[in-house]
Symmetry: C2
Amino acid sequence: MAGWSEKVLDIDLSTQTYQTYPLDMEMARLFVGGRGLGARLLWDMVGPEVDALSPENVLIFTNGPLTGTGYQTSNRFSVTTKSPLTGTVLDANSGGFWGMQFKKAGYDVMIVRGKAEKPVWIEIKNAEITFHDASELWGMRVFALTAKLGQNNNKRNVLCIGPAGENLSRMASIMNDRERALARGGPGAVMGSKNLKAIVVEGKERPVINDPERFKFMLYETRKLLAASPLTSQALPEFGTVVLMNIMNNIGALATCNHQQTQFEGADAISGEELSEKYLVKNSACWACPIGCTRISKTEKGEGEGPEFESTWAFGAQCGIADLPAIIEANTLCNDLGLDTITAGSTIACAMELSEKGYMDSDLRFGRADQLAPTLEAMAYREDIGSDLTDGSLRLATKYGHPELSMSAKGMEMPAYDPRGMQGQGLLYATSNRGGCHMRGNMVGPEVLGLPKMIDRFQVQGKSSFVILHQNVSAAIDSLVICKFTNMGVADEYFARVLSSVTGIQYDTGELTRVGERVWNLERLYNLREGFTRKDDTLPSRLLTEAPTEGPSKGWVVQLEPMLKEYYRGRGWDENGIPRPQKLEELNLADLLVRI
Amino acid sequence: MAGWSEKVLDIDLSTQTYQTYPLDMEMARLFVGGRGLGARLLWDMVGPEVDALSPENVLIFTNGPLTGTGYQTSNRFSVTTKSPLTGTVLDANSGGFWGMQFKKAGYDVMIVRGKAEKPVWIEIKNAEITFHDASELWGMRVFALTAKLGQNNNKRNVLCIGPAGENLSRMASIMNDRERALARGGPGAVMGSKNLKAIVVEGKERPVINDPERFKFMLYETRKLLAASPLTSQALPEFGTVVLMNIMNNIGALATCNHQQTQFEGADAISGEELSEKYLVKNSACWACPIGCTRISKTEKGEGEGPEFESTWAFGAQCGIADLPAIIEANTLCNDLGLDTITAGSTIACAMELSEKGYMDSDLRFGRADQLAPTLEAMAYREDIGSDLTDGSLRLATKYGHPELSMSAKGMEMPAYDPRGMQGQGLLYATSNRGGCHMRGNMVGPEVLGLPKMIDRFQVQGKSSFVILHQNVSAAIDSLVICKFTNMGVADEYFARVLSSVTGIQYDTGELTRVGERVWNLERLYNLREGFTRKDDTLPSRLLTEAPTEGPSKGWVVQLEPMLKEYYRGRGWDENGIPRPQKLEELNLADLLVRI
């Protein structure tokens, strides 16, 4: 069949052996690839008895039928594992070049099990798999390691962890192609726990496309639409994602100083406009991406990719810091150390509040740009104060007796959007299967930008329908895998059509959205099996009880309970948030039900 | 102020006098134009004591701030009146050229009150208003009359009624530019009841645009997007609206033989593909429209505009007729006689079912293409069987003791989409303020085409949110006034931006959608004042109790009650469907509440 390579590479690090076997194509049809396929495989392999940092946890790298085809943004891939940060199902996806190379090596899936006795790195050249000693690489930072292992954007791509992953930081990212990140939920710690430093891939196979003529036509149509949309042809290339800073600040939904406020007086100084004007060197792009939202920025300390909006916010508004060069440098440092910027920034902010309030004895203070870099270094190496912070804000705040000051949902730090000014975003955070996350149906489209249509951001009644739809679509896009930004200019329908042209299986838009719903429900089942319950579908009490006293969101807290009840009903779940058998039947998930 | 002409032309036919006065600009800001402004004016002028066909009813012609500016599809205008068919608030809008000419004559609004003693027609040349004797024109059909009065697409435009309007058929349309129609709900009968045969306009003023540079940029952006979208650049120009015939039939949501079935075996024979291949002469377009969905078709009997999808369905599937030339001719005949094709076709279908079942003594039978033309003639002239049919299917079916066989909501015949296969469409029909209508938030976008996103057409729970959103957006677009087809390629945001550039008032997308919500609630208040209640928000019992026995909608009836309850809650209305004071306050409609 076209699209998929139909091959699984299954590596056991404990024995340093591997096998390959055919992908279950019925599973592929139902879960497609990326996040969906990863979740389905994880379901079978990692149950509640497995600790996330034990050898029994697995890393499942997946690409999708679109990966490597050359369709716009078909560069992405996923890693799925049990999260060391949250204990939930976790998938993180990344762009760059590695995913395309991995696909060209001839695999849909790579499973990494067990634990190497001493540090190793893996080299993959199509069918040739080599385990290398990594003892001398252990301790290296990401940029140097990537260069040493021979990164070459189009021929040889490096994925690795930095010191943070080695030191089992629960916010450690896996990095690929030097500065792209599988960041959230701590997958780097799982890789570190396996003594796996890097995976280098070279591939030579071209993905097979079922209907090249139809595919070519879809390429043409998509190119036209991305070029016509001012978001994908202008806003993202010109300003990158940081274009959101002033927008979010203006509507009073920019979390500030650990969500104590919803507007940041220094927003202008850390905005996309400021970044472009003073620090931007040039744009860059992932493989097969005509948008090119990546920024290359430069400060006195050197050049680096980014920073993205979320990173800029995490070290900026969330820490009360308006010093853009310091933020850019913190971002680059995180990439080099292998740390998730959102969790890192928000954890530092949490420590700043704990310290300012006297609950924790440290000199961390809001606004102190000079504290960013040393704190991040300490976190990556579990040194001094860093050992308190490196496992995330919830463990930190709990240690100091104030878990309510962790701005997290299910233990994962929320991103920039303060949900008191975006009710749907609050429901999204509370129900996201990997915790406080904006990449699982971000409501900034419908609630702020009017994409695809504008809905009232303070509306509560009826809001859940939109959240559910966006969650499903996002799960579908994550299973193809392509970049969600294409969806700003190109309708879901195109993705169904291009998927059909590549695979030869006819997916219509409804069926594609249904794939997303299937994935969402599967992830929910996974979390239920892990022991998560209705009470975990919640938010920090600050967001539920403390209304901003000024700005456009003044007087608003998140009206979670009514939205959540409506959400469960709308999802076909019972009042405890458990999918009803009929819903699972409808989604071809009924066989999993008996296993909870 | 730019955008609006700020002038109202107020004509009293009883005295054949007129006055002009300034438009209330606060009202214009809140209701914008077109449908919104018309509804607001009607609220003040026509209460429940007024019979729709009495001199006290008024015709309110409105354009909007975009009309005549040259923005893509800025050709449309509205007429608002109390409907003789339904008794509800009615607005109908039309494209072509007349609306642009009316704007250039220097007016935002023309009110026509009273009743002329004998037939008249009105000639408007900017400030010069002339009443002409129409005694010799009375009885003329639309095409001949339009030619006689000097129709010239860009200089002089004719709006008139045909014999159906003169004979007070409650399904009479007002026609403009020969073959464009203000069709639904019987506005032609109101015009006939006033002894007004035609309104001819010549205008010379150019609409003033507040920010021509920004406006020009929006024109450019919109042109790009319409050219990139395959719907507006290919599907509509190539096949016209009839492209929907096979799509709706395939999913089992094509009402057939008076909604007795949901699939029509003759669908192929009356499809857009068939029309294009065998009968299409060329495309045509309204003023300032780059899409050009209008078809010019030709049969042995001659040429005419259309037929649109709805007309093709009404005389086709709904009457069990697969004879495309006969359907094309019926459509052209309706345009010449001044009859609404949807109501006409569905009323004939109702008569066919009544006759087949022996409730009515006539030889009308499903599938009899030869009966279309003579029946339509009889209807327009209230002759023979036509006098039974010409006031619509509800009055007809009630006369013969079977009102349940009228496929109408609030007395207006529903269009082609059988809501048993599209649950949201069912809720739409039941709650539409002018009755069974697809132009008030059509769900074919989200439920069938995936525009802007695909939702499950059988989904019940949570469906109301989408219906409400689409109703609001549609009311906003109808108030600008532009063509809804632009929204297939261009996001709502653009309409807000172009409105801002034209008027100088800053509308963001949220505020524009809010205008739509305001208009929807105002129309609801109007209908409540007329005595409509919760029980009128319903559908023919066939759709609520009789499930199709085959096809993709097999087993489904419309699950109206749960959707309706959710809908009322989502709209901020009480359980009887009455807007709560808080909602009206929020919408700046609180001053109207005391008047119910």
